[in-house]
C-alpha cells in the first residue's frame, strides 16, 4: 500500500520537475481529441478501468508482471499476454487515430 502511495508521490514530484503539474480530469489534451471529451471522459475511464482490472486479473499480470518480470525471463504465457495487450493497443490506437482525423 505504501508502495502505491509512494508511486503517486513520485509522479507528483516528476510532474513538478517537468512543469506539467495541473489539476485536470482526463490524462492530457490528446485524450479529449482521440477518446472522449469533457465529462464523457469519466464513464469511459471507469469502463476502461473495469476492462483493465478484469483483463489483468484473468491474464494473471499486467505491464509489470507479464511485460517486465515475465518477458525478462522469457516465460511463454507472459510473452503471449504482452504481445496480445500491446497488439490490441496498437490496433485500437490506429482505429481511434483514424476516427479522430
Amino acid at each position: 500500500m505504501l508502495f502505491l502511495v509512494a508511486m503517486a508521490a513520485g509522479a507528483f514530484v516528476a510532474s513538478i520537475a517537468r512543469g506539467t503539474f495541473s489539476i485536470h480530469g482526463a490524462p492530457g489534451a490528446e485524450y479529449a481529441r482521440l477518446v472522449a471529451d469533457g465529462w464523457h471522459a469519466l464513464p469511459v475511464m471507469a469502463i476502461g478501468g473495469v476492462l483493465v482490472g478484469f483483463g489483468t486479473r484473468m491474464a494473471g499480470g499486467c505491464t509489470s508482471g507479464h511485460g517486465l518480470s515475465g518477458c525478462g525471463r522469457l516465460v511463454p504465457s507472459s510473452v503471449l499476454a504482452t504481445a496480445t495487450f500491446f497488439g490490441v493497443g496498437v490496433v485500437v490506437s490506429f482505429v481511434l487515430g483514424g476516427a479522430a482525423r
Binding site: 516528476a14 485536470h24 484473468m58 494473471g60 490490441v88
Partner: protein, 135 residues
C-alpha cells in the same frame, strides 16, 4: 522494509511520470509508432529486469503451461489500456500528476478485479489468479 517500499515506489512513480507514460498523447504516439521512445524504454526495462531476476534475485523460472486466459485477458487489458490511457500502475502516476479522472480508472480496475474473481469462481474455474501472477 517500509523505507524500501517508499523508496522503490517513489523511484518507479517518478521515472514513469518523468518519461511521460501518464500522458495520453505519449501513449498514442507509442501505439501508433509515431514515437518509439516509450517502446524503447519498455524494452530497456525488460532487459534490466531480466538480468536483475537472473543474476541478483536468482528466481526460478516459472513453468506454468500456456493458458487461453493470457490471450483473452491480455486483449481485455489492451482495450482498457487504450480507453483509459492507463495500465494499473499508471493510474496512480496520473493521480500524482493531477489527473483526477484516474480515480474513476482506479475504481473501475478494483471493480474489474472483483468481477473477474466472481466470474471465475462461478463459471470459468480457471484456478486462483494469485497463483499465476509472476510465479
Amino acid at each position: 522494509m517500509l523505507v524500501v517500499q517508499i523508496a522503490t515506489g517513489a523511484a518507479l512513480g517518478f521515472s514513469l511520470g518523468f518519461i511521460g507514460f501518464g500522458d495520453y498523447g505519449e501513449l498514442h504516439r507509442m501505439f501508433t509508432f509515431a514515437d518509439l521512445r516509450l517502446f524503447l524504454t519498455f524494452a530497456g526495462a525488460v532487459v534490466v529486469t531480466g538480468l536483475g531476476l537472473r543474476f541478483l534475485v536468482r528466481s526460478p523460472l516459472p513453468s506454468a503451461p500456456v493458458h487461453k486466459s493470457a490471450v483473452i485477458g491480455g486483449a481485455c487489458f489492451g482495450l482498457g489500456w487504450v480507453l483509459t490511457g492507463a495500465c494499473p500502475g499508471i493510474a496512480l502516476v496520473q493521480l500524482g500528476e493531477g489527473t483526477l479522472g484516474a480515480a474513476f480508472t482506479l475504481a473501475g480496475m478494483l471493480a474489474g478485479i472483483r468481477a473477474y474473481d466472481a466470474v471465475n469462481q462461478r463459471w470459468l474455474r480457471w484456478g486462483d489468479p494469485d497463483a499465476s501472477c509472476g510465479n
